[in-house]
């Protein structure tokens, strides 16, 4: 633990030091803090930039994904020549240039039940910048079980949500604020609520919501102002309106988190990873005239732009009403743009029907176009 600032830090953080609310004491707290950012996408980019600039001493970044050209409309840390590179590593390369005094750790893995506890344990605060419910609930359940606060942000089209969950309200009584499950107890099915890869999102929105999250992190570390420990803020950019909703911790917050973790442990034991198929293997099977049902779960405009010959289009949101159209008597290969939406559909179909004839096309149609059908349009 440091108790002083170096001369160069006194210069770098001059504008913080001039604020009596932060000053040297607050800046030293920032320097000694460890913050984990889960998801280096739309929300993660501004959070990372501002926490790095602010001098958070230890920053961890979890993201297994690589930069795609469609990310650059809102993920402002990355440049066009980084397409195809790991986000977590590219992010660290940029952030180190911005502030070389800090320590960065890049985890190029997906946060999952098997690794979440070991990674999160190392940090004081977690920032939830993920893009799916599965990991949001995992962050909640692990943070509740480890007694760590987490700063939540989420976006949809033009509106966003921000809150601080599981934060200490009264240090003497050890009382904590509400958790994510106090607002939304049950993990929604991934296809119940569309995410921005389906619905689109205004590029500047994660910039706004992410900077709110960064601000909440700094308030928590330095102990200034009133962090959103018992409130959810909703922000709508179209009419610049905000709603601040008071939320209480439910008496069963710990029990819900514990059950959530127990359930994941049971699932991890029972089911294997969903079956995958590579584009090469699919191409071989089709060439051998093997009977395969190709299911395209993207939106119609994407399908019209390009699709694999013979594929049947059922967009994600239409899946629940079209279960009968998906055959049980032959392999079903499900694909989308990169393989995320199709994985969600397979999870859903497995849960609803118990089907085991489902295969996710690794890398989606993008991989197919790159490796098998170079004349195909890409986007």
């Amino acid at each position: 633990m440091t108790t002083t600032l170096l001369p160069i830090e006194l210069k770098r953080y001059q504008k913080h030091l001039n604020l009596p609310e932060i000053g040297q004491e607050g800046q030293i707290k920032l320097k000694n803090s460890k913050v984990l950012i889960v998801g280096a996408g739309g929300l993660g980019c501004p959070v990372l930039l501002y926490l790095t600039a602010a001098g958070v001493g230890n920053i961890g970044i979890v993201d297994h994904d690589v930069v795609d050209i469609s990310n650059l409309q809102r993920q402002v840390l990355y440049t066009t020549n980084e397409i195809g590179k790991h986000k977590a590593k590219s992010a660290v390369a940029h952030l180190q240039k911005l502030n070389p005094e800090l320590t960065f750790d890049a985890y190029t893995v997906a946060l999952e039940y098997s690794n979440a506890r070991a990674i999160i344990e190392e940090y004081d605060i977690v920032v939830d910048c993920t893009d799916n419910f599965k990991v949001r609930y995992l962050i909640n359940d692990i943070c509740v079980s480890l007694g760590k606060p987490f700063v939540y942000g989420a976006i949809h089209r033009f509106e966003g949500q921000i809150a601080v969950f599981n934060a200490v309200l009264d240090p003497e009584k050890g009382q904590r604020g509400p958790t994510y499950r106090c607002l939304f107890p049950e993990l929604p099915g991934e296809i119940e609520i569309p995410n921005c890869s389906d619905t689109g999102v205004l590029g500047v929105l994660p910039g706004v919501i992410g900077t709110y999250q960064a601000s909440e992190v700094i308030k928590l570390i330095t102990g200034i102002g009133e962090p959103l420990k018992e409130h959810l803020v909703m922000l709508d950019l179209l009419n610049v309106s905000t709603q601040k909703i008071k939320v209480k911790r439910r008496a069963d917050a710990e029990e819900q988190a514990r059950q959530g973790l127990q359930h994941r442990q049971q699932v991890a034991v029972k089911t294997n990873e969903p079956s995958k198929i590579s584009v090469q293997e699919l191409a071989n099977r089709l060439m051998n005239n093997e009977e395969v049902f190709l299911l395209d779960v993207r939106e119609r405009p994407e399908y019209e732009l390009c699709h694999i010959d013979g594929a049947v289009l059922i967009p994600v949101s239409m899946i629940p009403n079209n279960l009968k159209r998906i055959p049980a008597d032959r392999p079903v290969v499900v694909y989308c743009h990169h393989g995320i939406r199709s994985a969600n559909v397979i999870d859903y179909l497995f849960a609803q029907t118990g089907r085991t004839n489902l295969y996710n096309l690794t890398g989606g149609i993008h991989a197919w176009a790159t490796e098998i059908e170079p004349e195909m349009a890409t986007y």
Binding site: H156, E159, E192
Partner: protein, 82 residues
């Protein structure tokens, strides 16, 4: 006595209804739970959403909370994007 309440919608519920405010015709002693039933009947896709948070006058409301004509009511679904 019946009452008409104006309800603010967010996220997917706004997309389903196609507007950000909907008037809801409910009985005079209606509760949050009655409101959700009404919305799910008017807009069937809402029935497919497992968790919907209802806020009344800026506070999280339990299913049994009674609603009054001038209440500010918001329906908040979970949002996954990041």
């Amino acid at each position: 006595m019946n009452q008409s309440l104006n309800v603010l919608l967010f996220g997917i519920t706004r997309d389903i209804a196609g507007k950000s405010v909907v008037p809801c015709a409910l009985s005079g002693n209606a509760t949050v739970s009655d409101l959700l039933d009404y919305l799910k009947q008017e807009y069937p896709p809402m029935a497919g959403i497992s968790s919907l948070l209802v806020a009344v006058n800026g506070e999280y409301a339990e299913p049994a909370t009674r609603l009054a004509a001038n209440d500010e009511i918001a329906i908040i679904p979970p949002v996954s994007g990041g």
